[in-house]
């Protein structure tokens, strides 16, 4: 008797979670269409569709294919990547405050960008392809530093130690940045501040192709590891007892989180809040099972960044608001609302 009701509630949960995923997907498609139609030059939905299928004027082609579409695709990818990264970190460390920002990844990337901007006299024609590469180097360096500092022979990588180390490294890097900040010229400061606030400035197909391989490898890997994350969530002793090679799995997952966050931050600057909030929102919608939690986090992240970036392009035309700022302004109130509603 009891087992059958259990099966039923389990099935209900599955159906509900699947529905949530479908609704999120639909919302992203809706946001995608709206985003295609918004911007400095107005295009009607019909024109957009016609252009997509190759029947637009050269000007419409240019606007859609060269400016808007890559930017939208980048927003979707970055949102998904950062939210997944946060979801992994929260799952592995069992600390609700874990996010890609805590790993010092944003700080590392930001420091390298800032150093570059301080010492090279080009801000207007910022070398568009150099910056993401530099940012990725900085992010990887920070992650590597944290790994070296928190890894111990015989104990491996304890998540709490890693988070603490991350905070330490991030604080050190941030303070170096404060010192640099005071020496920058106002124009340069403005450039760095915008980058740090997280804006999708890499609106170019080349960035898409640069980011895509990372995600194509890492996202399936992470989704495949959903069950492992469920087990790790039970605590190390339980996980070991269930026969999971805790240490190795954790390393793989952490490396995946770093890879996702680092590659995304290099294109988008410091949008870290998505990584914190995406997984939490997902948890409130689909529960703690990572089979649903991971895809839900990714979809929520995509939706958040896409909506934020679209709004950021429109609100204060012709100047733009960095997506990172709007993600927090949109995401936080909704998150707080959910927080006060649920048990």
């Amino acid at each position: 008797m009891e087992s059958s009701t259990l099966v039923q509630t389990e099935r209900k949960k599955k159906t509900k979670s699947t529905m949530v995923l479908i609704v999120l997907g639909a919302l992203i498609i809706a946001a995608f269409i709206v985003s295609m139609n918004t911007g400095f030059t107005k295009l009607s939905p019909l024109e957009v569709i016609r252009t997509l299928f190759g029947g637009g004027t050269p000007k419409q082609d240019l606007i859609l294919f060269e400016f808007r579409l890559p930017r939208i695709v980048i927003s979707v990818l970055v949102g998904a990547g950062l939210a997944l990264s946060g979801c992994i970190l929260q799952g592995v460390s069992r600390n609700p405050l874990a996010d890609p920002g805590i790993l010092g990844i944003n700080a590392g990337a930001g420091l390298v960008v800032m150093l570059f901007v301080s010492f090279f006299p080009t801000t207007t024609a910022a070398p568009i392809f150099l910056l993401p590469i530099l940012a990725l180097i900085g992010a990887t360096f920070a992650a590597f530093l944290i790994y070296v500092l928190s890894y111990k022979k015989g104990e491996g990588l304890l998540p709490t130690r890693m988070l603490l180390t991350g905070i330490g490294v991030a604080a050190g890097i941030s303070s170096a940045m404060i010192v640099l900040t005071l020496r920058l010229s106002p124009e340069k400061y403005q450039f760095v501040a915008t980058w740090m606030a997280g804006s999708i400035w890499g609106s170019n197909w080349k960035f898409v192709t640069a980011l895509l391989p990372f995600l194509l490898v890492l996202v399936p890997l992470v989704l495949y590891k959903a069950r492992v994350l469920n087990v790790l969530n039970l605590g190390d002793q339980t996980a070991s007892g269930l026969g999971a090679p805790v240490e190795r799995e954790r390393l793989i997952l952490l490396a995946a989180a770093v890879g996702l966050a680092g590659s995304c931050v290099s294109v988008s600057g410091g949008i870290s809040f998505v990584g914190l909030i995406g997984p939490h929102l997902a948890r409130r919608l689909v529960g703690p099972k990572h089979q649903f939690l991971l895809p839900a986090s990714a979809l929520i992240g995509s939706l958040l960044v896409l909506v934020a970036d679209t709004l950021g392009r429109v609100i204060l035309q012709p100047s733009e608001i960095p997506a990172g700022i709007l993600v927090a302004i949109i995401g936080a109130p909704y998150f707080l609302f959910l927080l006060s509603r649920t048990k």
Binding site: N95, P96, S175, V179, Q190, G235, H280, P322, F335, L339
Partner: protein, 351 residues
């Protein structure tokens, strides 16, 4: 103690197994720390753009003669600055210790309550819309901003049926902080005042005046005493809510008092020096390492060590590149980070 589970796990071990405390170490820290603090302050007063002998410092404090220039410098500029530094350090450290104890989260500090973000938001508004506002008013508004941050966090955290759990507090804090910081970043970018704000916060304790100290001191003293009064209850809370309730603690009341104490301490500190958030994070960790997990010792020792850190950081800030001052936040991190990394390496149990 060798093959423990990960520190974050709340496994079902007996709660009292962990309460190890070292009253001797604590007593040593308190006495030695206070002596060291006195020395640090004396050094800090005598060192500066105009060098003054230690003997003159002694005279200036214990028999002040307003006609002598060195005495004037000491009384009007250096003494308030140094006392301010010591006060701010103690505030951040105790606020952080109480936050970590109450939320059982090793990553918690007063910044988590939305304090720093709230104060930063107030600063951004002041600089963008009322340029040239007087020093006293900026401080007042950043304290109000810090209060606003805490109110929002507390309001959203406590708004649900199940009340204010540590997890809820931490999450509400992170969300409110992110939102307020986003607003300040947006304002700073749009009105191009980001660098002004950075200069303000980098200024540290320079320019602290007697009038500020007089306003702050009674509040801070009261909050520190209140913190000491509830310290035993915080120890129990740090073992877990259920245990605390089981032992007859009125956890709701304790949390409320704790939050108010944190608001007063950290709010006052943030409004004077900006967010030197790291103090509130490292010092409690370090103190726990040294004196064990009894908050009756942790709170006073954190206060002393926090003061030490800031007084010496301020001294270093003036020595590194005179006559320019290095941002104190950067120095605290420079001293604190390696230390903190070392601690993190040794970390087993979080709290």
């Amino acid at each position: 103690m060798s093959s423990k589970a990960s520190p974050a796990s709340h496994d079902t071990e007996s709660p009292t197994a962990h309460i190890h405390t070292r009253p001797w170490a604590a007593t040593l820290i308190l006495t030695g720390g206070v002596l060291l603090l006195a020395l640090g302050m004396a050094l800090s007063i005598s060192f500066g753009a105009a060098d003054i002998k230690l003997s003159v410092v002694w005279q200036a404090i214990f028999n002040f003669n307003p006609d002598l220039t060195p005495h004037q410098i000491i009384w009007e500029i250096r003494l308030p600055r140094i006392l301010g530094g010591a006060m701010v350090g103690a505030c951040f450290a105790v606020a952080g210790a109480i936050m970590q104890g109450m939320t059982r989260n090793p990553l918690a500090d007063s910044g988590l309550l939305g304090l720093n973000a709230g104060a930063g938001f107030a600063l951004a508004v002041c600089f963008a819309f009322f340029p040239g506002m007087s020093y006293m008013y900026i401080i007042l508004y950043s304290f109000l901003g810090a209060g606003l941050g805490v109110l929002l966090v507390y309001g959203f955290g406590a708004a649900s049926k199940s009340g204010l759990t540590p997890l809820r507090l931490v999450l509400a804090g992170a969300a409110v902080s992110a939102m307020l910081s986003a607003f300040s970043e947006g304002i700073a970018l749009y009105f191009k005042v980001g660098q002004d704000i950075a200069f303000w916060t980098a200024g540290g304790v320079a320019g602290t005046k007697w009038s500020q100290l007089e306003v702050m001191f009674p509040w801070i003293l009261g909050a520190l005493i209140a913190g000491l009064i509830i310290s035993r209850s915080i120890t129990l809370l740090s073992l877990g809510e259920d245990i605390a309730i089981g032992l007859g603690q009125r956890t709701g009341l304790i949390k409320l008092v704790g939050l108010i104490v944190v608001l007063i301490l950290a709010g006052a500190a943030v409004s004077v020096v900006g967010a030197v958030g790291f103090v509130g994070l490292i010092i409690p960790h370090l103190t726990r390492k040294l004196v064990g997990v009894d908050y009756r010792w942790i709170i006073p020792c954190s206060a002393v060590m926090g003061s030490l850190l800031l007084v010496f950081a301020d001294l270093a800030a003036r020595m590194i590149n005179p006559p320019y001052e290095t941002p104190i936040g950067a120095l605290v991190a420079l001293i604190g980070v390696p230390f903190f990394l070392y601690l993190a390496r040794k970390e087993r149990r979080s709290l």
